[in-house]
């Protein structure tokens, strides 16, 4: 039996094994997100752990622990404090195992970033965002109408081609 099928069978049968598996994903993905967001922070910049420590009102040693895989069982309160310091929100969502795995497989610190509160137009200025959305929709409608006119033109041309057998044959022959 392969390591994978043994593990899946244990996950199906054993509660402790499931808890351990879920814990291991959190133990790596949460620190990875904290570190990636800290390093990508521009306003304020947080190149060092002490910067996040200052923003969150915690000791640098605690930040170091939060960024070390498996080192800390973060409470929801601590997660909220860190998210607040990073100026981002948090969604804690129960999902099927395959979703958890998909999220892990797609995660890379290279590309992971989150819009910060000060840049979050949809939250800070929802009315303005709605106006922008409407403008985009109108713009989209204009494009659609333009395309429709184009399609009609193509349609005319196509029908002209179809009633001229010699051209059509040439076209096929070509």
């Amino acid at each position: 039996m392969s390591e994978q099928s043994t593990r899946i069978s244990r996950l199906l049968q054993n509660q402790e094994s499931r808890a351990s598996y879920i814990n291991s994903k959190l133990a790596v993905l949460v620190p990875a997100q904290i570190r990636a967001l800290r390093l990508r922070s521009i306003d304020p910049p947080m190149p060092f752990q002490k910067d996040l420590a200052r923003e969150s009102g915690m000791q640098q040693s605690r930040i170091s622990m939060f960024e070390t895989p498996g080192a800390s069982n973060l409470t929801l309160e601590t997660i909220a404090r860190i998210a607040a310091a990073l100026r981002v929100g948090v969604v804690l969502k129960f999902v099927p195992f395959h979703d958890m795995l998909r999220w892990e497989n797609s995660f890379s610190p290279d590309t992971f970033d989150v819009e910060r509160l000060q840049d979050d137009e949809a939250f800070v200025n929802p009315e303005g965002e709605r106006i922008n959305e409407n403008a985009n929709q109108l713009d989209g409608l204009g494009h659609s109408l333009g395309n429709a006119t184009g399609a009609m033109r193509i349609g005319k041309h196509a029908s002209f081609e179809s009633i001229n057998p010699s051209t059509s044959q040439n076209a096929i022959g070509a």
């Binding site: 351990s20 790596v28 993905l29």
Partner: protein, 138 residues
């Protein structure tokens, strides 16, 4: 006039990791199920992280180890800091794990692991490298 910039998307090359010797597998198997899961998750994420400076839990060692380019991955499992000592391979985006150990109260276990890692780093040609597979299904 609109500035038309062509964005070229380069394929992402993932890191490949190799074990220097069988004892790294033994270190891995000695970890609890949770410890092994944490390590596998770490392996997966770090393989997709371009810059080693951004690797999760990675620190350069100091002194003699630094001279031969040894770094360590740190993660916490089974009540202790687990340390995996490694170095970069000669091929692009390859890394070699030299030795697995633990670290508690400023002491590495086994105690001579740094010396062994340095010896191995200097004797890469004598190694029987074994590539670690990254399981995306677990």
């Amino acid at each position: 006039m609109a500035n038309h910039k062509k964005v070229i998307q380069l394929p992402v090359v993932q890191w490949r990791f190799f074990d220097y010797a069988d004892d790294i597998r033994e270190w891995y198997l000695d970890l609890s199920e949770n410890g092994r899961d944490i390590f596998n998750s770490l392996l997966k994420i770090n393989s997709k992280t371009s810059l080693p400076t951004d690797w999760q839990g990675c620190k350069m060692l100091q002194g003699e180890s630094k001279k031969v380019g040894i770094w360590e991955w740190r993660f916490f499992a089974d009540g202790v800091q687990q340390r995996l000592l490694g170095m970069f391979g000669s091929d692009r985006k390859t890394a070699i794990f030299l030795l697995g150990c633990s670290h508690k109260d400023q002491i590495y276990r086994p105690p001579n692991c740094i010396e062994t890692a340095i010896k191995r780093a200097r004797n890469l040609s004598g190694a029987n490298l074994y590539e670690r597979t990254i399981n995306e299904n677990l």
